[in-house]
């Protein structure tokens, strides 16, 4: 692991995205539009205040999962990954470089989405906005690392897109957006405890309602971080210098 190579990789990924302004616009604008749509649907009901925070957790996670899995799959397929691994680039440099680049994008995305939700759609955040951004960022990092890991099991872009419903949708369904987690059937409740997105949504909800202290949110952040580290470790095992 080498800081220079990690930063070089992050810079390279960001330069690639800079050459693709349409992706940047979609990345930044779409979450806000969807949050606006949900706020509109639930006008004059208290529902937006309960599911709004969860939406802020969903976007960075889903979007970063998708772009991380597709871009790293592209690196595997075009041979650039093989070139990099035949050079003195560490696997950690590669993964951390990507995580750093997508983490920065996620900050931008989350900042715009949170501002829009709070100032335009009137979402009430009783706790700290900074804590909210921190959870959204942790979420994006989690999405990135899971995406890197998933890309190892896909041979084509079609397959990797299918991993989205397979790995992401169950977490959305069991995360407490549709039904609070404590009202789920017991087995599903236990399963949902083991899904990282549940903890992200819990944390965001706690910040929004200021119902728990910072230690609780910190604990949830640690759980998310543990999942992200696990995905990085598994992901780096899938980056083999020698292949058949």
């Amino acid at each position: 692991m080498n800081a220079g190579r990690t930063f070089a990789t992050a810079g390279r990924v960001l330069t690639q995205i800079r050459h693709d302004p349409r992706t940047i616009v979609l990345l930044v604008v779409v979450p806000s539009l969807l949050i606006g749509l949900v706020a509109w649907i639930f006008t004059d009901t208290p529902i937006f205040d309960t599911i709004g925070p969860a939406l802020i957790a969903l976007f960075p996670f889903i979007v970063m999962f998708l772009i991380a899995s597709i871009t790293t799959l592209r690196e595997r397929r075009t041979g650039t990954l093989e070139r990099l691994l035949s050079m003195p680039l560490g696997k950690a440099d590669f993964i951390l470089g990507y995580t750093l680049a997508f983490g920065l994008l996620a900050i931008l995305q989350a900042a715009v989405a949170v501002s829009f939700a709070v100032w335009v759609c009137g979402l009430t955040i009783k706790g700290s906005i900074w804590l909210l951004l921190a959870v959204a960022l942790a979420d994006a990092v989690l999405g990135t690392t899971l995406g890197l890991f998933a890309s190892a099991f896909a041979r084509t872009e079609f397959q990797v897109v299918q991993f989205m419903p397979a790995l992401v949708f169950p977490q959305v369904l069991l995360g407490g957006i549709f039904l609070p987690r404590d009202q789920l059937p017991d087995v599903l409740h236990v399963i949902s405890d083991w899904l990282p997105l549940s903890h992200a949504i819990d944390a965001l909800r706690a910040v929004a309602t200021n119902s728990e202290d910072a230690a609780y949110v910190g604990g949830e952040l640690l759980i998310i971080a543990a999942f992200a580290v696990g995905a990085v470790v598994l992901g780096s095992i899938t980056l083999q210098r020698r292949t058949s």
Binding site: G4, R5, A8, T9, G11, R12, T15, Q16, H19, D20, T78, G79, T80, E82, R83, L84, L85, S86, M87, P88, L89, R241, R242, T243, S244
Partner: protein, 249 residues
């Protein structure tokens, strides 16, 4: 400094399987230092697998591959061996210069290397262009330029001249010989037999075996042929292919 007479690559009894098919069955060969060595043979004969084994990105089933005095693929060799695959393996959505600057930083090579390799591969006029706007020949030169960064001691080039126009091809071979004169060792594969005469030494390969390891003149003398293509055919006639285990012949 290493002994200059010591081979830059030496391979003993290299065996590689892909799935259930044996691609290389017990190759033994050595590549001398400071020369342009051509690896010639038809598509699918195992050239790429052999090159991947030399660079150390191929899973091998057995045998020994020693490169620049160390086992192939060891960490220390990652600075000293440049590798160009048949796929361009550069980033489409970066400019030529951005690609090279990134690989340069990964290698820890001096920044001035970027301008040097752009000049060596005649890409001066395209350095600010996105790679996806370049022609196939230009893209493969970007890939070659990336391998020249950091002045590696050994260059392993998999079909670097495919799809290039004749003028560029001549220029590239001139570049290969300039590099060799400066002390770089090159292993260059091709399935175009008329490129054989441009090499200092030839390895003729067929179905995972080396048929000949000779100088171009030596090869013609040994076979009595007029050109490399004819020599290759003569050699095939002399060595009827064995039925390989798991193969479909």
């Amino acid at each position: 400094m290493m002994d200059t007479t010591e081979p830059v690559i030496s391979i003993r009894d290299l065996r590689v399987r892909r799935g259930r098919i044996a691609v290389l069955h017990g190759l033994t060969l050595s590549v001398p230092r400071g020369q342009v060595v051509g690896l010639l043979g038809p598509s699918g004969c195992g050239k790429t697998t052999l090159m991947r084994s030399i660079v150390g990105v191929q899973d091998v089933a057995g045998g020994e591959v020693t490169v620049l005095g160390g086992p192939a693929g060891s960490a220390d060799l990652r600075h000293r061996v440049g590798y160009v695959t048949q796929a361009e393996s550069v980033y489409d959505d970066l400019t030529v210069r951005q690609n090279l600057a990134y690989f340069c930083r990964v290698l820890g090579a001096p920044r001035s290397d970027v301008d040097r390799v752009i000049a060596q591969t005649d890409l001066g006029g395209n350095s600010g262009q996105l790679v996806n706007s370049l022609s196939g020949g230009q893209r493969s030169r970007v890939s070659l330029a990336a391998a020249l960064l950091g002045s590696p001691e050994l260059l392993v080039l998999d079909e670097p001249t495919v799809g290039l126009d004749p003028v560029l091809r001549v220029n590239l071979w001139k570049l290969f010989h300039e590099l060799a004169r400066a002390g770089t060792s090159l292993l260059v594969s091709s399935h175009v037999m008329d490129e054989a005469t441009r090499c200092d030494r030839l390895l003729l390969m067929r179905e995972g075996e080396i048929l000949a390891d000779e100088t171009p003149d030596g090869l013609l003398a040994a076979t009595g042929a007029r050109d490399a293509e004819e020599a290759f055919l003569t050699l095939i006639a002399r060595h009827p292919p064995e039925v390989s285990d798991g193969g479909n012949s």
